[in-house]
């Protein structure tokens, strides 16, 4: 998949995944990297940035193995940000589809 396309939608997909349920960093990495074929080294920095910007918060849960695990959730600000990004994406996609369908009809 084109790298430029991926760059724009990873954040949207991460926010979508977390809007469905709380997830650990590994679970987010695993889901996004499997479905979008992106490098795992991209997702964790993104999670960290989103949390610093107030879109996510985490809760630590004790783990049998190693340090407590962080489980990420969307904040209210994160939900609003996700809705804005999703709207922007759907609008963009609809317009691109319109152009592509127009070329096919020719």
């Amino acid at each position: 998949m084109n790298a430029q396309f991926k760059k724009g939608v990873i954040e949207l997909c991460v926010l979508k995944a977390l809007s469905e349920k709380e997830m650990s960093a590994f679970e987010v990495l695993h889901r996004i990297s499997n479905e979008l074929d992106v490098n795992e080294n991209t997702v964790y920095p993104l999670l960290r940035r989103l949390e610093e910007e107030g879109y996510l918060f985490h809760e630590k849960t004790p783990s049998v193995r190693g340090a407590p695990r962080k489980y990420f959730h969307l904040t209210e600000q994160g939900k609003q940000h996700f809705e804005q990004l999703e709207l922007a994406w759907r609008t963009f996609r609809a317009r691109v589809d319109q152009i592509l369908e127009g070329e096919n009809h020719e």
Partner: protein, 347 residues
């Protein structure tokens, strides 16, 4: 590479950045738990660590803007303030060139930009533009004794944004800008009048159409923010010219243009829901004090000391900055880069 060597390597690379020790430990704990959870789910350690990426690249992605200067380049950058001070005092005490000798301090940011940046990149050109304008203005005015309209050198800053813009009509926009400036200078030479300055307000048109005032936040363009900023720019420009036609206080009232970057900073902090930090305001305070004391008390030769407030306050308030940094907003005349950790090609 196994978990232990991966985390050791990551720690080593993170320590090259200006990062709190607590943040480094937090990141290492996070990666440790990621690896542990992957192993619990039956993934192969070596395969996972390979997919996590090289620790050096990870550190760069986590902190793309905070690399400590290293090696020879870093040493030159660190030594530049001392060299500038030595040169300044030699120029002043031996040749009575306190002014424009103070300009050697501009070597500090210039050397940092040249050594840390890529000279051919648009960012380096834009970063150097204010210094080019400042040096051109002061040297020309000092040698010729003509301060007006020599200040027109500062128009190089907005003009350079047109040269590097990606607008389809960039050469037309640059030409319109150059013609307007040339017309103004010609009128001013033939028939000096403060009214001629009103022509320069039109300069905002090619800048706006070229996208030089493009403001993005987290990749989403902020058109309302752009419109508000343009209105503020035009109002301040016209107000400044009209006011000074009556009161002739051009130098001291030029401080009103600081409202523009101050407005941008306050909007960012509002967007980030951060409390106002002293460090953000200190550059503005320093400039106001420098110009006010120099103008009202003719104290230019010591009012430059107010700029020392910037590093002093930064040191005093180090570590007290809000956890949420003002990332995600890109603005300015020509700067299009967003300060996100994902500004990399290998997504």
């Amino acid at each position: 590479m196994n978990k232990k060597t991966f985390l050791s390597s990551l720690k080593m690379h993170l320590e090259n950045y200006q990062v709190d020790h607590e943040d480094i430990e937090d990141i290492l704990n996070d990666y440790a738990t990621i690896i542990d959870e992957a192993l619990e789910k039956g993934m192969d350690e070596a395969t996972l660590i390979e997919r996590l990426g090289a620790p050096k690249q990870l550190a760069k992605k986590l902190y793309p803007k905070t690399l400590k200067p290293q090696g020879t380049k870093g040493k030159i950058i660190a030594l530049t303030p001392f060299l500038a001070t030595i040169i300044f005092f030699i120029l002043g005490s031996a040749y009575a060139l306190w002014h424009p000798g103070w300009m050697v301090y501009l070597l500090i940011p210039i050397v940092a930009i040249v050594l840390e940046g890529k000279l051919k990149s648009k960012d380096a050109i834009m970063s150097l533009a204010p210094f080019v304008a400042l040096i051109g203005f002061f040297m020309t005015a000092h040698i010729s004794g003509v301060w007006h309209p020599t200040w027109a050198f500062f128009l190089w800053v907005p003009f350079s944004t047109l040269l590097i813009s990606s607008s389809k009509n960039k050469w037309m926009e640059a030409l319109v800008f150059a013609i307007l400036v040339a017309l103004y200078l010609t009128l001013e030479l033939l028939n000096p009048s403060a009214d001629n300055l009103l022509m320069l307000v039109l300069l905002w048109v090619p800048i706006y159409t070229s996208g030089g005032l493009r403001i993005e936040y987290n990749g989403v363009r902020q058109r309302k923010f752009e419109r508000d900023t343009l209105i503020l720019l035009v109002v301040i420009s016209i107000g400044y010219i009209v006011f000074n036609q009556a009161f002739d206080l051009w130098v001291i009232t030029s401080l009103v243009f600081l409202l523009i970057p101050l407005y941008l900073v306050l909007r960012i902090m509002q967007k980030e829901k951060n409390a106002l930090q002293p460090m953000v305001l200190i550059p503005f305070v320093a400039i106001i004090l420098f110009i006010s004391v120099g103008y009202f008390f003719e104290g230019w030769h010591y009012s430059w000391l107010f700029f020392l407030l910037i590093p002093v306050i930064a040191i005093l308030f180090e570590g007290k900055a809000p956890k949420k940094r003002a990332k995600g907003l890109s603005f300015s005349m020509g700067y299009r880069k967003t300060y996100q950790a994902l500004e990399e090609e290998d997504v």
